[in-house]
Amino acid sequence: MADDDTLSIPQGHDALQELKESLSQQYGQTPAGPVSDMIDARLDQIDAALTALNQAGMASNTVAINAAAAAMTNPLKDLDGLKDKIQSIGTDIGNAAKILGEVDQFISGVTSFFGVK
């Protein structure tokens, strides 16, 4: 996805959008329980970040980009791998926690890069 250490709002947005859609689909297929609640919590974080990026896009100039570019490059390159893992979350809480931990890192990378919460 990202070829260098720069990340545009559209790239960050696209990555989060893909993640949201993967997780939303997985959420609908996961029975009630701790794994479902964990996915729900991540979806809330992604929603907040996507709304902030959309608002920033409407204003086009309000996002404070910090210098965390290098931290974002690898997670973005491995987005497809992360989406595959999301599909295999299942109901095992240990496996889910591991995969969702990677999702957390990804969300945190994008949001800190753009300075959005």
Binding site: H13, P31, N54, G57, M58, S60
Partner: protein, 306 residues
């Protein structure tokens, strides 16, 4: 019938005929276009209202499912559009409406007393907008080809002046000519705001807010095992209804984008018709614009009014 009455009726008939013939094709076309332009400006306003309403609904659904947890926060409900950003859009849309009204007034030779004050206010507001940060950010986002910020601000300012200055039907060609670029610019900025369902703008926000509502409804169903079979069935149906509303909402926003594009094209074609009696290109575009508007009316009229 008495002879005097016959003469009167014949005279009135002749007068109407002469009056009918004296209305130029440009004036007639401008009058028809003005009606559609007014409607398109209203639809553009409704597009923002639709997204704002659905954003509110999604935030409320989140609040409902967060009730009783540490995440519950009444202050979390915030509008999607920041007030200064929305104000810039409102001024642009008012510019479109005022232009349409100016056309209607000029083409109809209507009394100008009240209209003068209103047109002047809109003209001034466009002038102020032309130097605002919000407009600069809209231009940057819209990535309008070969159009610098300077050209856009000049165009917005020019529309304000054209609305204030041209009041007589003889000035219609000049008004159309001066407004051609500004109207195209405003339509392009608003279309860019509506955006793309996967990428940005109002369409993406609407899609995501509906996805949130769907997810929160699913959460309610999963976490409420005590639902009766009938209530459970109704709750699952609500998920399907939300999915359909999301598709309909996106189609409506896409149709609003098309209406704005057609508005700019039809306005440009109208400016080109000038004194020509037949203007097939304009007529075809006007009919497309009418059709765009008819599709949208049904949807936007169902939106709750604030």
């Amino acid at each position: 019938m008495a002879r005097g009455t016959t003469i009167c009726v014949a005279g009135l008939g002749m007068a109407l005929l002469v009056a009918g013939c004296s209305v130029s094709p440009l004036v007639k076309n401008a009058s028809k276009f003005a009606t559609e332009a007014t409607a398109a400006a209203k639809d553009a306003t409704s597009a923002y209202q639709l997204v704002e309403q659905e954003h509110y609904n999604a935030e409320v659904e989140r609040l409902v499912t967060d009730f009783g947890t540490a995440k519950f926060d009444l202050n979390s409900i915030q509008p999607f559009m920041q007030s200064d950003e929305m104000e810039a859009r409102t001024k642009l849309i008012k510019g479109l409406s005022a232009y349409a009204e100016t056309l209607a007034v000029v083409a109809g030779d209507q009394p100008l007393t009240d209209f003068d004050t209103q047109a002047e206010a809109v003209g001034k507001s466009l002038k102020e907008l032309s130097t605002s940060d919000a407009l600069a950010s809209m231009v940057k986002k819209a990535k309008i080809d070969a159009t610098s910020l300077n050209a856009v601000t000049t165009a917005i300012d020019a529309l304000g002046r054209a609305i204030i200055n041209h009041k007589r039907s003889s000035e219609l060609p000049a008004l159309l000519k001066e407004a051609k670029t500004p109207i195209a610019t405003i339509c392009a900025l608003l279309q860019a705001d509506i955006g793309d369902p996967e990428k940005n703008g109002l369409r993406n926000q609407l899609k995501n807010d509906y996805l949130t509502e769907i997810e929160k409804q699913e959460k309610f169903i999963k976490n409420t095992p005590t639902l009766s079979p009938t209530d459970r069935q109704a709750a699952i149906r609500a998920v399907a209804t939300l999915a359909k509303a999301a598709r309909d909402g996106d189609k409506t926003l896409a149709a609003t984008q098309k209406e704005l594009a057609d508005l700019a094209k039809t306005n440009a074609a109208l400016a080109e018709t000038d004194k020509s009696k037949d203007s097939p290109a304009f007529k075809t575009m006007l009919s497309e614009l009418v059709s765009d508007g008819q599709q949208l009316r049904g949807f936007y009229e169902k939106l709750p009014t604030k």
